[in-house]
Every structure is written in structure tokens, then in C-alpha cells.
């Protein structure tokens, strides 16, 4: 079910889409994700390659340029929507947690 698989994003998916809000070279994403997450999230080349392929297939990102083997990608409107939905979900989750934990912690 390819449509259902991006209803909620995993952490690597979320970070890849975040990075691609700006045009970025595929191979640089791994480093940028690590930097952005301060080393908390690491994405292996195999995982990155698979995810970029799937995002592209689902038109959540688009290839914007190519130089030799290097490819540049950027997020599409569909990708932004998925990112926004995930952002709302995470926010909601955080707010629910805050509310529930108040008085306990």
C-alpha cells in the first residue's frame, strides 16, 4: 500500500523531507540530517537511497538537477503537505503528553 506508507513519517523520513525544504544533493543529506539532529538520527546510505526512491515515486520530492552521478532534490507540495501533517501530529502528541504529565512529573 504505497499511499498508506507515508501517512505517518518515520524519523528518517521526517528529517529527509525537512532537509529537502531547500534544494540539496542526495549524498549530502546523510551529513545534514546528522548535523540537524545533533547526531541523534543517522541515516545509512542504503536507507537514504531507498527512501529517496520512494519519495520520488510518490512525487513527494522531485529531482531538480544532475551533475555526473550526483543528483539534487527538492520537496514538492505533496511532500510539504505530508511534512505539515506530521508536524501537526507530533505537536498534538507533544501537547497531549504535556497535559497528561502535568502534576505527575
Amino acid at each position: 500500500m504505497p499511499r498508506e506508507q507515508f501517512q505517518s513519517l518515520t524519523e528518517p523520513m521526517y528529517y529527509i523531507l525537512l532537509i529537502l525544504l531547500e534544494e540539496c544533493c542526495g549524498v549530502d543529506i546523510m551529513e545534514m540530517v546528522e548535523r540537524l539532529s545533533k547526531g541523534r538520527v543517522t541515516i545509512g546510505p542504503g536507507t537514504l537511497y531507498t527512501l529517496l526512491g520512494r519519495f520520488e515515486q510518490e512525487q513527494m520530492i522531485v529531482e531538480t538537477g544532475r551533475q555526473g552521478r550526483k543528483r539534487w532534490y527538492q520537496i514538492t507540495e505533496k511532500g510539504k503537505e505530508a511534512l505539515r501533517a506530521e508536524q501537526i501530529r507530533l505537536k498534538q502528541q507533544w501537547m497531549d503528553g504535556e497535559k497528561r504529565m502535568e502534576g505527575f512529573l
Binding site: V27, G44, P45, G46, T50, R69, R71
Partner: protein, 447 residues
């Protein structure tokens, strides 16, 4: 197997056991053998300095058989891996192998276990499921095919079936192993625990029976029927040898010159075309030097069948009991019809393990053909072998001026009709006796 500085190991490399294979490659590297090439199940290692390396095996589903070794997909993937610090080792079709120094703290190539699990599932359904469905169908088909002929107990056919059964069982076994592993993984995902990835590679080694089944069974299916025909077997073997030798020479020459990379498909297409040209040319060139065939090709048979009670007008009943449960075990018969220019031959032969059955067949034949004892004259007698010639009626001499011979032994009966053969009647008779006795012996050897 050790060849100078090389070591060749046969391994099964199922997608879900990559951790075990990676562990095996690491252990080999530590022992001083670095993976050099992968050819299907065959791993070629080269002797190097012992090193502590960690390996990563990935399966690129986008690579197809029509792609070159270094194609767009694999090269792009290589770019990603090299950027992350992994070094390319070798690749075989979709399978890519990378390595890095074990001391370097590099992120794994596959960091998302669930994503990796999904890819393995996809691979399994694409590659194994068709085989698993086909395996029982193939077994059933082969047994059905073997059951329709009396050659079931032929040693070659039996061996072929045995290998195929082994291959089919192997495929089914792999499928069951995978399904068990998938079930364990699903459970691990539901519980939020890491996937159960084994690093025990001992069970990955392939041994002689599996390899024999893998490589010999398809060959047996394709070539066994052909190899049983001597006229085809020699050119076929010649063709295979020439194609293989020429293919290796071409591949080596192209590699040595270092010209444009040759794709596997180009290479295969080229050797097949060249092989076919050589095959046809060799047929044409060698024909004048090949020995001429027997004038009476008794050995060629056009049709064969088994003899059952229904051949004598009996309708089998449900409660009938037959020897070894097989009605057709009563005997076997063969027919041959051949024409060479104006020469003509018709040959009918039947054999049974019981002499009473043979007598029944013989009488039945004479009765059907309306031949009485007075129509036959004895022309040859040796032991229990008798040959009769049918006396020619005046009107028949004009219509069918051929020779009709009937041969009777304890267990077989044959009828030969021939016209305009260059051999003398005596020569034909000798050939006939020799052939019948050989066939009879062949029947008793087999059954």
C-alpha cells in the same frame, strides 16, 4: 575449494540472511581471504593480509538483467555508500557488497530495519513465490510424464527426477524457513524489539547434493532427451563446447583490450549467435565425413506403447488385480515407418516378460492380419528364434512387391515389411535377428 591464492565457496544467499553472510565475509577477511567476486551462489575470495572488516550486503531491486555491471542505479548507490565511508567490493546482478574497516564507527548501510524488512519481503515475493508455486506443479508434471512412458525405471530418468525432487524440496524448504523468519520479524516489530537477525552462517554453506540439484537438474531436463538420441547428442555437445570456449576467449580478449564494457546480455547474445553459426556450419562441413547410417534404421522408433489386456478386447474391471498393480506391464510394443527415396520400411515389434503372453500377441497378430500357417515359410531357425517369410500371392506381388518377414522368439515377436532396400534378403534377415535379440535383452535389462 582452494586454487592457488583463491578460495571458492558455495553459499546460498537469501535476502533475509544477509547478516550471517556479512559475518562470514568478515571472518574470511580476518583469516586473510577477501571477497573478490560473486557469481550467483559462488563466492570467490583472494588471499590478502588478514584484516578486520565489516561487510554490508544490499539488494538493489531496480537493477535488471538487462543492465550492465556498472549501471546508473548501482553507480548512484555506490556514490551514496562511498560518501558514507563504505567501499565497494563487488556486485552480482542486484546484490551489492560493500565493506569498511571494522574500527571505523560508520553508520550501517541500512539504518531503518523496518524499511529493510519491507524490501526483503518484496524480494521474497518476487523471487521465491513463483518457484514455490511452480515446484509442486513441476514435480507432479514430471511424475505424470514419467508415468505415461515405460521409461520410468530408466536410470537416467530416475536420476533426473531425483535431482528435480531435491531441487523442488530445497525451494520449498527455503520458503518455509523464510516464512518462519518473517513471522518472527513481525512479532519483533509488534513488540518493538530488534529484528531477529542470525549471524550463524554455518547453515548457509551449500554442499554437493544441493549444488548437483541446482546445476544438473535443469541440464538434465533440457538435454537428457536430446542426449539419448545419438544423432543429436554429438553436434549438441560439440556446439556447447565450442560456444563455451569461444565465449570465454571473447570475454577475455575484450577485457584485456580494455575497450568499452561489454554487458552480460551482449556477451550472451554474441556467443549464442556465434555458436549457432558454428553449429550450422559444422553440420554442413562435417556431413561428408560422418559415417553413413545403417540402411535399415531399426533403432529409430516412431511410436511405442505398452501392451495391456484391452489390446485383446478385454474391458478392465474395477476389481481386477494386475502384476505390480500395472496393467501395462504385460509388455511393450514399437512401430517404425521409414522412407528413403524409393525404399520403404515398416517395422512392428512387441516384447513381453511372459512367453504365454508373447504367444497370445503373436496369434492375435496373425489372426488380425488373416495369416494362416500355410502363408508362411520358415527361412531361419536358431534355438528358439524363428523367422518366417510370407509367401507372395500372385496378385499381391504386383500390388506390394516387398518382403514380409515375421520373427518369433520366446518373448518377442516382430513383423518387418520392406521394399527396394539395397541389402540382400539374407543381410536383412541377419539384421532383423540381431535387432530383435538386442531389443529383447534391452527390455529384460530395464524391467
Amino acid at each position: 575449494m582452494k586454487l592457488f591464492d583463491k578460495r571458492i565457496v558455495a553459499l546460498r544467499i537469501p535476502g533475509y540472511e544477509t547478516k550471517a553472510i556479512e559475518a562470514f565475509f568478515s571472518d574470511m577477511a580476518e583469516a586473510g581471504y577477501l571477497l573478490h567476486k560473486l557469481y550467483g551462489e559462488w563466492c570467490v575470495f583472494r588471499k590478502t593480509e588478514p584484516r578486520k572488516l565489516k561487510f554490508s550486503i544490499t539488494y538493489l531491486s531496480r537493477v535488471t538483467v538487462f543492465d550492465e555491471d556498472e549501471n546508473e542505479t548501482s553507480m548512484t548507490y555506490r556514490e551514496y555508500c562511498e560518501q558514507a565511508g563504505w567501499q565497494f567490493v563487488c556486485a552480482d546482478y542486484k546484490t551489492q557488497v560493500y565493506c569498511s574497516d571494522a574500527a571505523r564507527n560508520l553508520p550501517e548501510v541500512e539504518t531503518d530495519e523496518r524499511l529493510w524488512f519491507q524490501n526483503v519481503k518484496k524480494r521474497f515475493f518476487r523471487e521465491y513465490v513463483p518457484f514455490m508455486i511452480l515446484a509442486p506443479v513441476l514435480i507432479w508434471f514430471l511424475f505424470w510424464m514419467a508415468g505415461t512412458t515405460t521409461d520410468f525405471l530408466n536410470v537416467q530418468v530416475f536420476l533426473c527426477l531425483l535431482l528435480l525432487c531435491f531441487l523442488c524440496l530445497y525451494v520449498v524448504y527455503e520458503g518455509i524457513r523464510y516464512l518462519y523468519w518473517e513471522w518472527k520479524c513481525r512479532r519483533a516489530i509488534d513488540q518493538g524489539s530488534p529484528l531477529p537477525l542470525s549471524v550463524n552462517y554455518r547453515s548457509m554453506r551449500l554442499f554437493c547434493p544441493s549444488l548437483a540439484a541446482m546445476y544438473l537438474a535443469p541440464l538434465c531436463i533440457n538435454f537428457m532427451p536430446l542426449l539419448q538420441e545419438p544423432d543429436i547428442a554429438v553436434p549438441m555437445l560439440l556446439y556447447m563446447v565450442v560456444v563455451l570456449v569461444l565465449g570465454f576467449c571473447l570475454r577475455a580478449a575484450v577485457k584485456k583490450r580494455g575497450t568499452d564494457p561489454v554487458t552480460y546480455m551482449d556477451f550472451m547474445a554474441l556467443i549464442v549467435v556465434v555458436g549457432l553459426v558454428i553449429y550450422f556450419l559444422s553440420g554442413a562441413v562435417l556431413k561428408p565425413f560422418l559415417p553413413e547410417k545403417e540402411v535399415i534404421p531399426f533403432k529409430n522408433k516412431e511410436a511405442a506403447s505398452t501392451i495391456s489386456f484391452s489390446d485383446f478386447g478385454y474391458k478392465p474391471g474395477e476389481n481386477d488385480v494386475y502384476f505390480e498393480g500395472k496393467e501395462e506391464w504385460l509388455g511393450k510394443q514399437e512401430w517404425y515407418f521409414g522412407n528413403q527415396e524409393n525404399a520403404h520400411i515398416q517395422w512392428h515389434f512387441s516384447v513381453s516378460r511372459w512367453s504365454w503372453m508373447n504367444q497370445l500377441i503373436t496369434r492375435n497378430f496373425y489372426k488380425q492380419q488373416e495369416i494362416s500357417d500355410t502363408d508362411l515359410e520358415l527361412v531361419y531357425e536358431e534355438g528358439t528364434t524363428f523367422v518366417y517369410r510370407e509367401k507372395k500371392a500372385p496378385e499381391e506381388q504386383v500390388r506390394t512387391p516387398g518382403l514380409k518377414l515375421y520373427i518369433e522368439t520366446d518373448h518377442s515377436f516382430g513383423r518387418l515389411y520392406c521394399e527396394n532396400l539395397p541389402d540382400t534378403e539374407e543381410e536383412i534377415l541377419q539384421l532383423l535377428v540381431k535387432d530383435v535379440l538386442e531389443r529383447e535383452q534391452e527390455f529384460f535389462d530395464k524391467y
